[in-house]
């Protein structure tokens, strides 16, 4: 986790530096704003990871002293065994029709901008249906 944090924060720092240099040297707004965006892109997830890294590697304090909090995830530990990763890894949804429906809805919606608003009547309902379906599927854990 520390690697991820450092990597992203470094990117944010680099873009920030380049952005500052560019802003003061080139007086050009567009590029400066885009570099600002890239800076934020580095700092936001990087800060998140850094925060969690500190939490994982910190201490829990009691009146009688402190104890270290549980360390790295098994995927970040150099000596981890496969057995450490046993158990539920994550939820991986199986087959699902909703991405296809959503894709078709997006397609129709986008074509509506070119061929006429009537396509919205096809596209928007498809998107809404897909959103509903995906949400219900996630909550119920099954085909809807």
């Amino acid at each position: 986790m520390r690697v991820s944090a450092v990597f992203l924060l470094f990117l944010g720092l680099f873009f920030g530096l380049i952005g500052l240099v560019y802003w003061f040297w080139a007086y050009e707004d567009g590029g400066a704003v885009m570099l600002l965006g890239a800076t934020l892109l580095g700092f936001l997830p990087g800060g998140y990871y850094f925060f969690w890294y500190r939490r994982f590697h910190g201490h829990k304090y009691f009146f009688w002293g402190k104890i270290p909090v549980a360390g790295e995830r098994s995927s970040d530990r150099v000596d981890a065994e496969m057995a450490d990763g046993a158990g539920n890894i994550d939820a991986f949804p199986g087959t699902s029709i909703w991405p296809f429906v959503m894709g078709m809805g997006a397609f129709m919606t986008v074509l509506a901008l070119v061929f006429g608003a009537w396509l919205l009547f096809i596209g928007v309902p498809l998107i809404l249906t897909a959103l509903t379906g995906v949400t219900a599927e996630s909550r119920r854990g099954g085909n809807v």
Binding site: V3, F92, V110, V134, N143
Partner: protein, 606 residues
Amino acid sequence: MTDVIAPPVETHEPTELHLPPEVPGDGHEPDHGGHEAHGPTGILKWLTSTDHKVIGLSYMITSIVIFYLSGITALILRLQLTSPHSSLLSFGQYNALFTMHGSLMLYLFAGPFAFGGLANYIVPLQIGAPDMAFPRLNALSYWLYLTGSITMLMTIFVAGGAAQFGWVAYAPLSSATSSPGAGPDLWIMALALTGFSAIFTGVNLCGTIFYLRAPGMTMFRMPIFTWNMLVTGILILIAFPVLTAALIMLFADRHFGTHIYTAVGCHLVNGLPMRSCGSPLLWQNLFWFFGHPEVYILALPFFGIVTEVLPVFSKKPVFGYKGMVFATMAIAALSTGVWAHHMFTTGAVLLPFFSFLSLLIAVPTGIKFFNWIGTMWHGQLQFTTPMLFCLGFLFAFLMGGVTGIMLASPPIDFATHDTYFVVAHFHQVLFGTAVFAGFGGVYYWYPKMFGRMLRESLGKWHFWLMFIGFWITFMPQYVVGLLGMPRRVASYPSNLGWQSYNIVSTVGAFIIAASFAFLLVNFVVSWRKPIPAGDNPWDAQTLEWATTSPPPHHNFTHLPPIRSERPTWDYNHPDALTVPHGKGAHNGHANGSGNGSGNGRVKETV
């Protein structure tokens, strides 16, 4: 602090990986072991699958079909240029054709093949994950890509025909007055769809790589291909939203009466345009802020493929693993700061800033090159088809990179911008990466994906024809560009001696086309008369070769212990272990502490 050293690996049985209880998305019992998941079959399986392998294959097949289509457009373009005033195509048709060629290749083949196809398939396997982090989002990415491709191809058939403004769509040429009709609008919509497809894939890649690595697969033990895909994912997140925003504004200019990019009729005060004026420069800045990271999005995955193939067929680990990682990060970081080197000739950009950063990108690229050479150095090189293709990449990209350095210098760029010199340069780098290294990846991973081998003989025919054709096609273009032939021209003067170079170039293009016939034949033969591949036909090093070919549902039933960046190699060659960040283990020494996983030095660096 005592050193924590793992027990030796040699006698270690692979630990059973307990798969998660199946989220009953298909309403069936959880799997145990490597049984095929039962579910919908046929077309319904394709429509509903969220398995990264199925999605990755769909991406790859779709993008290779588009590659062949775009190759046909290239052949027609080259035919037009064999004579100075050819009547094969009208000017409008020619302009539409090179627009399609560039758009299909760059937006719909090279990128999606790399990050949608290969990365989707390979990255979870390489880090020991059961799937990508967001499987349904992954599927959505594919459908957006497919519909985006259909939209782009639709532009040929609408009234007014396809867009004619080049793959870069410079304003004001792309405005409603200069490019009317539905073709350009559909082009914009196609890019909006594929843009979102790419953004979602970028999110998926970063999420998967940060979160779903197997136990022991620390960041600095990931294969370089996965590292490159992580960096590519971040570049996607930086670049594509800018493109989407720029396209929305272009659409607004075309249809909602805004003047974001158009400046005609503007009021000037003291030589400066008023705030209410649009600026063609703004389109260029926005587009190239996307466009330059885009070409590195296109290049980095293929660099990763080369870094996978070279060690396997040199029987050595990657030379300078950490250097590779840092070089990749440096390339990505620098590539975000160089966009205006495509705008040197506007006279309106800060030349030294962009030329310095552009020249500087040569340094990490050079580091990667020397590391690739170092990987081969003192190895036992086997020239299988994937290895040949990656060597072809090395030659092509070397020269393409050198000409890129020349173009990074504004005065030289003034002389060569928008000439065939630039066309030759970017074809060398893009062809070298997307085609040489990309098809090298196809030959390398085909056995893993389909469980059968491609024929070496046909593969070698493919390579040599393509390699020879490649140089014949693009070397004359450098010369004729230096002589002054501009790009995007449907005809050229007949008294300047340019025709002979163009003829040679066209001959080369047809040789390249012929080479691709061998690939198709190879696919067909491998299906009709399969040679079983087994788990690890190449004696390869990374984790995807530890599972069956093709991998079972949720990828792994057994995983070897992960103590270095070459877990499969370590498992198969306990006498030639990879020492984490140590000097090379000597041949024949059972260096028991070679898998020293928890010693103090390693802990510092991870």
